[in-house]
Every structure is written in structure tokens, then in C-alpha cells.
Symmetry: C2
Subunit: 213 residues, 2 copies
């Protein structure tokens, strides 16, 4: 994720490049073998063999087999995006700005196209191996906590006020739902994702609004 933004390929020595390659090879092998045979029928030993490293080396890159499968998304939102949000930007509208943070966390800086294939694979993984779902939920939960802090800072609530946690929890629920329902078509843009999110937030607001029902 930092390979293109912060480091030019030149500033990366041979050692660093090899590490990135090994990491990607391990991830790719883990996902591919799991989709082929099912999680139970893939051993760390086999994954390592596919990536041409020793089984022991696998655990220098990933703490668990699950880690190699789930990847790095969603990640904590970009530091710059977070700062802007905390200071009340970029538009001033709470939901719109929330959506900016959420898309940044989901898609990172490289754009949707770069993640499309990875997202598709992860989706198929979840369907084929439901045992992975709790781990994925845990990752969203980590982002949720980060988001909760950002919301608290932006709104200036006192630390014991638990409403930012509530808003963060529901916002991440909306995000998970949106990711699950994304069609991931070729032409889909970030703006499309934003629109789906906006519509989902509106629907939630209507469902629980005190005025209706």
C-alpha cells in the first residue's frame, strides 16, 4: 500500500522488494489453494511450497493461516483523510464526510480498480469458508474503534460520551452491508460506491427516525 505512494520503486532495495514479493506470493497461494480445495484441505506447508519458501518462513510473514487469507483491508483510514474529517471537513456535512472516511478505509489510495480483483476473491472466500467471517468482522471492528475516536474528536464530545461509539458501530454495519452488496462491475467508480453508501445511510435514518412509524 505504501509501495506506490511513499516509496518509488528505486528507493526500495533488493531486500525490500523480495519481501513484498514473498508476501504477495504467500497471500496469492493461500487464497488460490483455499478456493480450489477448501480451507481444511490446505496446509501451511503447501502454501509455503507454492511460494517457494520454507514452512517456517510463512510465519515470519503471517501470524496465522487466516491472516494470509484476509489481507489488509479494511485498513485504518489514511492519516490525512482522518485529520481533515476531525477538523470538520471536507464538506461539513456529517454523513458525506463520514462516507469519505469510510471509502478511504475500504479502497485506500490506489482507487477501486486496483482492489476490484482482491475484493472479488475475498467475497468468494467468505462464501466458501464461513469460518473466516469472524476474522473479517474483527478487522472491521478494529476500524470501527479508530472511527469512533475520530468521530469523538470531530464532534468534541466528552470521553465518557458513548454516542460516537454507537454512530461508528452503525456506520461500519452500513459499510459491511455495502461491501457485501457491491456488484464490483468493471465500470464501477468510487462515486458509485459513495452513492450506494449514501442511499444506505438514508434508509437507516428513515427506518429508525422518530418521525416515521
Amino acid at each position: 500500500m505504501q509501495l506506490l505512494s511513499m516509496h518509488g520503486k528505486d528507493t526500495m532495495g533488493l531486500r525490500e522488494r523480495k519481501k513484498q514479493a514473498t508476501r504477495r506470493a504467500l497471500q496469492e497461494a493461500a487464497v488460490r489453494l483455499t478456493l480450489e480445495r477448501g480451507l481444511e484441505h490446505v496446509t501451511v506447508e503447501e502454501i509455503a511450497a507454492e511460494a517457494d519458501v520454507s514452512p517456517r518462513t510463512f510465519f515470519n510473514y503471517f501470524a496465522t493461516k487466516e491472516d494470509a487469507l484476509l489481507g489488509d483491508v479494511p485498513a485504518a483510514p489514511d492519516e490525512e483523510v482522518r485529520r481533515v474529517f476531525v477538523e470538520g471537513g471536507p464538506t461539513g456535512g456529517f454523513v458525506d464526510d463520514l462516507i469519505t472516511v469510510l471509502t478511504a478505509s475500504l479502497i485506500s489510495s490506489e482507487g477501486l480498480a486496483a482492489h476490484r480483483e482482491a475484493m472479488l476473491l475475498r467475497k468468494r472466500l467468505m462464501e466458501r469458508e464461513p469460518q473466516l467471517v469472524p476474522g473479517m468482522l474483527g478487522r472491521f471492528h478494529n476500524v470501527e474503534q479508530e472511527l469512533s475516536r475520530a468521530i469523538a474528536e470531530r464532534t468534541g464530545t466528552s470521553p465518557e460520551d458513548e454516542r460516537p461509539q454507537l454512530v461508528a458501530a452503525t456506520a461500519m454495519a452500513v459499510t459491511r452491508h455495502t461491501v457485501k452488496c457491491l456488484h464490483l462491475k468493471e465500470g464501477e467508480s468510487v462515486a458509485d460506491v459513495r452513492a450506494v453508501l449514501r442511499s444506505a445511510f438514508r434508509h437507516v435514518g428513515e427506518a429508525y427516525a422518530p418521525s416515521d412509524d
Copy 2:
């Protein structure tokens, strides 16, 4: 959970009573030892020893060590409660009826007092051992899917309409938040829990409502 409601103590033979006792002993031992020493420093062997059964027997009761720790809550809502909800009851107000289903899922039929201690222990477990959080989230996720189906039935939406999923996801997020923030004081009643839930739903509605902001 069914011991008091469906089965009188008399209808349960010796075998069944022993099984329940062993199950509870294993759960109790697992939780106590984990809170004392931390999850990494408790083996299945030790848990089984505390419950006076062989290590092998542990796995006749629980598929994993985590299973013994997390227990049975939240469970899928009671069948009767679900039926009433699907048919548009008990009050006809969506949020109120949703709250009825959610509290039924959290607290089961024995009332809050019976669960108070167990909930407290589980809360301390989550704080002490964050590795357990994904597993707990997974359990909420299972209830979420059940709830999603119930909402779809109640509202009569078509199967491909994904809004029931969205509502279920956010409702469970509200529920998780509420459980986390419950004070679990001695005098707290189910009505108090309902009130906290209602207030949380209202706040979510306001945060995402199209009218405000």
C-alpha cells in the same frame, strides 16, 4: 436454558442431568482459569481436569476452547417471539417490536437477573482477551442473519431486496453497543434495557436522518 422452561427436573433422567452439569462445569472452569491466568496460559487439559473429566471428553462438549468461553448468548430469538414479530406484533411499531426480539435474543426467557453474572464475566473476558472478540462478533452475526430473515418476512419484501439485511445489521450494531454499555447493576430490569435500546435507536435515526444536518 431449557432446563427450567421446557423440562421439569423430573423429566430429565440422570444421564441428561450429568451432561448439563459437566457442560456447566467445563464452562465455569474455562472462564475462571482464563480470567485468572490469561487465555494463553490455560490448556484444555487443565480445564478438563478442573471439571473432573478427561481431556478427550472436553471435545465431546465443545468444538473449540473458545466455544467453552463464549457460551450460548446471544442465541437465535425464541421461536414464539419470532413468530409474533413476523406477524406484525406485538405492538405494531417497528422499532418497539424489534426491541422485543432483540431483548429476547439477549436475555432468553429466564430474565435479566439469571444472566447478570454470566454477562459480567463475558464482559471481563472480552476486556482481558481481545482475541475472543471476533468469535463474539461472529455469534452476533449469526443472530443478525436470523433477524434479517424475520424482518424480510414481516415486511414482505422480495428476496432480492437487501434492505432487511441492512436494517438487521444496524440493529445488531445497536444491540452490541447497548450490551457493551449496560451497567449491569443489581436493580436493572428488562424495561431498563428496552429503554436504553430505544434511546440508541432514536439517536441513530437522528444521526443519519435526511432532515437534520
